[in-house]
Symmetry: D2
Subunit: 384 residues, 4 copies
Amino acid sequence: MRKVCVVIGSRANYGSIKSVMRAVQAHPGLQLQIIVAASALLDRFGSVVDVIEQDGFTPDARVNMIVEGETPVTMAKSTGLGLLELPTLFELFRPDVVVTVGDRFETMATAIASAYMNIPLAHTMGGEVTGTIDESIRHAITKMAHIHFPANQGAADRIIRLGEAADAVHVVGCPRIDLVSEIINGEGSDTDTEWLDREGVGGHISTEKPFLLVSQHPITTEYGQGEAQIWETLMALHELRMPTVMLWPNIDAGSEDVSRGMRKFREDYSPEYMRFYKNFPVETYLRLMKGAACLVGNSSASIREGAFLGSPAVNIGSRQDGRERGSNVADVDHERAAIVGAVRRQIERGRYSPEHIYGDGRAGARIADILSTTSLHVQKRIQY
Amino acid sequence: MRKVCVVIGSRANYGSIKSVMRAVQAHPGLQLQIIVAASALLDRFGSVVDVIEQDGFTPDARVNMIVEGETPVTMAKSTGLGLLELPTLFELFRPDVVVTVGDRFETMATAIASAYMNIPLAHTMGGEVTGTIDESIRHAITKMAHIHFPANQGAADRIIRLGEAADAVHVVGCPRIDLVSEIINGEGSDTDTEWLDREGVGGHISTEKPFLLVSQHPITTEYGQGEAQIWETLMALHELRMPTVMLWPNIDAGSEDVSRGMRKFREDYSPEYMRFYKNFPVETYLRLMKGAACLVGNSSASIREGAFLGSPAVNIGSRQDGRERGSNVADVDHERAAIVGAVRRQIERGRYSPEHIYGDGRAGARIADILSTTSLHVQKRIQY
Amino acid sequence: MRKVCVVIGSRANYGSIKSVMRAVQAHPGLQLQIIVAASALLDRFGSVVDVIEQDGFTPDARVNMIVEGETPVTMAKSTGLGLLELPTLFELFRPDVVVTVGDRFETMATAIASAYMNIPLAHTMGGEVTGTIDESIRHAITKMAHIHFPANQGAADRIIRLGEAADAVHVVGCPRIDLVSEIINGEGSDTDTEWLDREGVGGHISTEKPFLLVSQHPITTEYGQGEAQIWETLMALHELRMPTVMLWPNIDAGSEDVSRGMRKFREDYSPEYMRFYKNFPVETYLRLMKGAACLVGNSSASIREGAFLGSPAVNIGSRQDGRERGSNVADVDHERAAIVGAVRRQIERGRYSPEHIYGDGRAGARIADILSTTSLHVQKRIQY
Amino acid sequence: MRKVCVVIGSRANYGSIKSVMRAVQAHPGLQLQIIVAASALLDRFGSVVDVIEQDGFTPDARVNMIVEGETPVTMAKSTGLGLLELPTLFELFRPDVVVTVGDRFETMATAIASAYMNIPLAHTMGGEVTGTIDESIRHAITKMAHIHFPANQGAADRIIRLGEAADAVHVVGCPRIDLVSEIINGEGSDTDTEWLDREGVGGHISTEKPFLLVSQHPITTEYGQGEAQIWETLMALHELRMPTVMLWPNIDAGSEDVSRGMRKFREDYSPEYMRFYKNFPVETYLRLMKGAACLVGNSSASIREGAFLGSPAVNIGSRQDGRERGSNVADVDHERAAIVGAVRRQIERGRYSPEHIYGDGRAGARIADILSTTSLHVQKRIQY
């Protein structure tokens, strides 16, 4: 029985690998090991570890590895802290394969630990193109991974052009879409409105009326501009004055800038039409995405899950540059008037037809099957 | 004036960047910053930091970052330790560009720290192909670097195929060859024989007679086989019984295995024809390479400097698989009879004509010039 | 010229050592080195490093060393992170003596680094008795320190009973009191009210009317009870409904519990009579202490500076158990009715006469003089 | 059932706690948890972890935490590395009490991690007096420990004078003496001579003739003098020219100095009467102590186990200053003539009568009993 160790470092991470964890847990030839780390342990980011336990998973270890500060310095140090701790745990758990997601610093720590310890590394969400430092990190991780699970053929082609062996690249779709599919095909939940009122701070939000769902993160390579960037968005929202579900940013260099802008806006404008949330259960968030009149900000979700859901979206700034997108996305700069105009046009246009650019909802099962049967090896060689 | 920070982590590192350091130091538009780290600080590896100071350089900081053990676990942890410390120093020194060499764990720590801190990273020796974990690490570092200084056109082509922007790739030759050229064109040194007798342990070595120069390192992806591998080489040397200059291995996962084999051999066979060294001044080593009847082992020097020097070499095992090589190299497996045969054939054949596969001896000056003029930026985007 | 390195880890730390830094800077026989670390670097705790620079000091290095989480696990890890970084900086700066303050985890990291590196360690605020883990940490640091600067004779006696050499123990008073003295003897500042309105969040506070100054921190050995404890205080304040200057807690295991309680209270009760602050310039805070009708909470300032100022104070819970106190302090349990009663009695009673229990305002100069002349040695021996 | 976690960091540590581990394992009310760390994992120090497994114990985790270098800087950093890792493991294993031994840096890391995590800490070998940095570290650890197991009444008195509660101090004897007692009362082992010939390097040693057992470690507070110090001892041994069992030094700041001296001596003098060992099975070592004509060096074993065994011993230098000792010990300075004279007098004098200064051989069982019944609490308060 192969031991598959999944390292989860954030709420986004968890949503992106949950269907894989379920499929691994259910697979007779696989044993699931779970390490919960980084911001997934922090109250400030909604204690994702509690959600993981509520979902029926049992973490095998917890690793506090965030060096506080959310600056370029602390992101580098947090990677280092992960690299000091994960080897001890990998030695303890002796996984046959490690699974890591995306392009964050805990992903990098996981990748390097696996690489040096000669543990085959499987990587999801490789081969995509974005802005920010994530772009460099993601491709660097691809060069250390042994098994690749890109979301679509474009990403797969890019991985192969990066010199990876074609037979190690498996187009499976993005596991996040598995959850989306499940929610859409599941029954609607009346409890979400209760949840929205109970959690978060700010005004009451009615999802009966057309509402906006906003999520804007700092851009690590534009460090220091986060406050000005969010301010343009907030001024646009203040002109629109629609019911607005507003998320605090991810932990990252520059988060504090974005958060500071949001706090000032809240103090100065007391926007009664807006409610602030640290975190959402994945299901609630996806239902909000499906229900929103328009998604606003620079989250990848607008592009990835948005395509599958056909949700109108306004993508602001450079953070998602280069990411393949469907017709549901309108791109604008950090400029309040442009944001207002784009949101109004999207709302008028209404919902889009679903597009399967990032998967069809069956990625988790495919990944578990491949992990149970693929040959595992560690020596790599560039394919040119 | 641009501040150029060089991070040196081992004796090999230093030899590979010394001519660049000199050129940066001499350049009116550049200021040199030096961080000496990892095994370059350790007595066990010859206190390279002392050599650096004797050469007229002043280290700006020293970072002990080796987690002892030389296992896969400790290599990963050492990377982590570097990642915790280098950001503090980069923040202190505020370099405009960081220069890192090759594919070792301290190189990886340097690369990630620079990447997250938005400091442009220049990388030498990228784009080459080898065996071991170095292969993955090297290409991953390329994906984080902003300025590439490959040794030859083949390496440059590979870097561009990895999606790097062509105008960021500068074929300059390998700075190690600069030293080789200087030594060759310099006057011979009579003091080397004194040095050979004073340092090291074991029998007296006369370099008047045909002698062998042996350097064999562990292969991280073949962890656990190092003792058996060195044993084949030692048995071959014992059959040849020629004067032999023998190096202890680099610090790396598996070094202890190789060292143990060497200690046992020494205890059991008391080979009076062999002398053991921890470290060499770069100049002494190169003169030995030039003078040796045959180079033996799996060091990259036999291939890189060996081509320039025309030194007959026997390369053992997979460590240098994929590396471009000249006609001076004969490849054999870890098999004592094969090694004996290859060495005898090479000695009979004698010296080869120089080949400029890894540079012409002017890499340092070229790199300093480019560092002083190239536009510095941090956002990267894959070129396909 | 002796190099004196001060390591500052928090806003409280800085207030406790600032007069020493000034005196060292002014002393012809001493050179000041400053390392700013831990929460003193964090925006969330008011970026104390900026205050330090505004005060005319130049930090020699900054060390991010807080592992985020504010749990027992992360306090231990933060100590570890400090211990990995401080040795590199001590090696770089080569201080003749290191000065550390009090009993926090960054103090412990500083002490151990100095001890192992054979650097004489001077310690302020040793020999005092309190509750929480600080009690163990403080006395452990005393056992590693070489020069002791206790605030009063009681503390000095305790240090000597701990087996320290009497001639290494200097009763100098607490350097915090130096600042208190200076403020009191300086002119009043009209700008404070502007500051109060500009900074913080919540209602407008008039310091013309009798007002409360509240500061309550978690108790690390009562981890998990912080929210219930602050709630009793908040309910008492809500009954009193006086103008209230309210501080967020220090970073420590359990801070998040206290903060959560404060956030909930603010959301649920919208207390227009209360304003929340992350941090104060030391001067502003002391003037508030002098002006307040009553100090409330469990801060040591109520006891230490409070005695010198004669400020009526209500001390809640066990955090200050064992600390020597003047007549200005009334002790109560975490019980809302008891808190209300005690505050009302203190306000009725009015200001107390100053008591010099923690110093007379000239500690900084005394410490600088001793540091410039005392013999420095590192080998210690228990004195019994 | 109480979970008792023992952290083992070196070969000396293991010998000092093995009888406690056996007793805990055998106790119906206790469950043993074992973390093997630091030099106990290193091949260079004899892979003590293998011995632990051969003895029938199963390590629950392994923590590589030595930062290589053996300098003051790396000792501090190694403590930090331990502090980063142990909290993760303590959180995973949730021990009811942690047991730590003595005064080394891994002991300090264990103590601080326990203290901050509110885990009761039991400490053996506290209250003793020695030279070197160990003196400061030991008493600092006492100030963080909750349950004290001193070896004798003098040590217990000192712990109480340090302000510890008398009912937390249990005089049980030193667990090392349990092993000594067992060996002495067991049957002699003929296999030791085979072992002596098979292991180590150097000349053949006959234990039939009067032989010396030498163990000399660096003194951390006399850093830099180790080579000169060992040289005096080696010159004395060279004059005595008796069969000599010679140990390499413990890992500690300065070990490399001592080792270098030993390597040079071996190269220069080829002492055929001497054999060098990295490590001994505890049993073998104790039988050698019992059989030796004289113990030489600065190991605490000469004093502690030596008293129980009545072995003549020559203690050199300041490392054991202040430690209570029996009549079997003669103290001399680092001076070759003095060493030769003292050894000759001791050999002439012959064996001494056993003295129970450090225990009677039943410490392990006593400690297990107390750990199973004592009340566990974490808040401490100085007792004056």
